[in-house]
């Protein structure tokens, strides 16, 4: 019980796919201009990842290793298309705002990474819990970035005005930079720095030591 709980909670902070493994960055910067888009994409990713992990784990003994990547991608891509269709049918405006990024869940490294590294070697229940945890870890990072970007960039949260804008007679001058892609990188970088400062165990060892030639002593 405790072990399965850890499967879910570990990816939230200690093994977070975004801040530790730096996966899924592309969509993390594209959809985080507002909290609502980040939330929708996170939910779609969690659902797709969990179901994909369950299915792949169920048939893991019968997936020939020579075609395992293709089989996984086919299953993931089908689920993504279905999720995209459901969004278009029941949340059309939101799916228009997310544009291609729902379909791009299929290429999100977190999804293939988790099915390849975990679901292929574990029973369905742990695989789905792991998928849920990793999806939630991705969602947390997305929501934190989106929270900062929407609040500072537009003065709103989930579309509701929080900071009174200058244009509407208030005092807050929105930071347009926050709505542009570079700000997502900046916030993400600061977030990774903050997490690794709080958890030194996540700091990676240097891959090489800087070249320092021995001082030549004049004879």
């Amino acid at each position: 019980m405790l072990k399965s709980l850890h499967t879910v909670t570990d990816p939230l902070l200690d093994k977070n796919p975004v801040t530790v493994h730096i996966l899924g960055i592309c969509s993390a910067l594209a959809v985080t201009t507002s909290v609502s888009t980040a939330l929708t994409l996170s939910l779609a990713l969690i659902v797709v990842l969990t179901i994909a992990a369950g299915i792949i784990s169920l048939i893991r003994h019968h997936i020939p290793s020579s075609i395992r990547i293709i089989v996984q991608i086919t299953i993931i891509a089908s689920l993504v298309i279905v999720a995209d269709q459901i969004l278009q049918a029941f949340a059309y405006a939101m799916s228009q705002r997310l544009s291609v990024f729902v379909s791009l869940i299929a290429t999100n490294c977190i999804v293939l990474g988790r099915t390849e590294a975990f679901a292929l070697n574990n029973r369905p229940l742990p695989a789905m819990l792991d998928a849920l945890g990793n999806g939630a870890g991705y969602a947390i990072v997305l929501l934190v970035v989106a929270f900062i970007r929407e609040l500072l960039g537009a003065g709103t949260l989930m579309g509701f005005g929080i900071l009174p804008l200058v244009a509407e007679g208030g005092w807050y001058q929105p930071m347009r930079l926050m709505l542009l892609a570079p700000s997502a990188f900046i916030i993400l970088g600061l977030l990774v720095w903050a997490v690794r400062s709080a958890r030194p165990a996540q700091q990676e060892p240097r891959e090489f030591t800087p070249y320092a030639p021995e001082r030549q002593v004049q004879p």
Partner: protein
């Protein structure tokens, strides 16, 4: 060997080693069939809902376009959705036809049916659409019974997609009230900017024709005069396409004959 103990072919198939070629091909086939089925079922089951969403969005776009026009917004606000009258036009005859019920009119079905569409020769086919439907929709907004605004749905082949747009003309049938692109798949960041309000705003007040000749043009550098619209840098082909589709749809094979009828006071 296993056949003696397990007569079930399915179990025999699963019992094959994963390196077996038959099993590899079989698994690939099964996964493909299962995934294909689930995608198809989802697509077919959800298509009506998605289509309804697209139609609703298009109507909302049309409403927002109309309500933003000076003088037209008030009419819409007063009369509500009924202010916009849908007319079905027989394009060759240049007259309204009552042969169709506007509520059931399906432009795509009309365009796809050889019996109700006309093949265009290369010289005629400015918009690059191949076949043109014989009956097309137009939207009329009236003020006190008189024509106040005419909205023509037009489409044509762009650089890499079909561009669909509404062209709104004022009572003189020459001055553009608004031009709104509601569907396109042009190059993101370049051609796709034709759907940006900023670019579309420069159409208002332009004049499409002079002495009965359609002359409006999307130009590459520095629009001057009432017949030129600034193009988008890096999207020349999209600009040409917009020019050509307006020339086609206002020309003799498009709404031209009906516009002539309207100018002469008929309908």
């Amino acid at each position: 060997m296993a056949a003696d103990r397990k007569p079930n072919p399915w179990q025999r198939f699963l019992a094959r080693p994963n390196t077996d070629r038959t099993k590899t091909v079989g698994i690939a086939l099964l996964v493909a069939i299962a995934c294909g089925l689930s995608v198809s079922i989802a697509a077919v089951a959800l298509r009506p809902l998605i289509a309804a969403n697209i139609v609703a969005e298009r109507q909302a776009l049309m409403r927002s376009m109309l309500s933003g026009l000076p003088g037209i917004g008030e009419i819409i606000a007063e009369a509500g959705a009924d202010a916009v009258e849908i007319a079905i036009i027989d394009l060759d005859a240049g007259a309204r036809t009552q042969a169709f019920d506007p509520a059931d009119f399906d432009p795509l079905a009309i365009a796809a049916d050889p019996a109700t569409s006309t093949a265009l020769s290369r010289a005629e086919d400015l918009a690059g659409i191949g076949r043109r439907e014989n009956f097309a929709q137009a939207y009329i907004v009236r003020r006190d019974g008189d024509l106040a605004l005419l909205v023509l749905p037009i489409y044509g082949n762009g650089y890499q997609s079909t561009i669909r747009a509404y062209l709104a003309l004022e009572t003189d049938l020459t001055t553009v009230a608004a031009f709104t692109v509601y569907e396109q798949g042009e190059t993101p960041g370049l051609g796709s900017r034709i759907s940006e309000p900023g670019w579309q705003a420069q159409w208002a007040g332009k004049s499409v024709s002079e002495d009965g000749e359609v002359v409006i043009e999307v130009v590459r550098d520095g629009a001057s005069g009432p017949h030129e619209v600034d193009g988008i840098s890096g999207a020349s082909v999209t600009g040409y396409a917009v020019t050509d589709m307006i020339h086609f749809w206002l020309g003799p094979k498009g709404f031209g004959p009906w516009l002539d009828t309207l100018r002469q006071g008929g309908e």
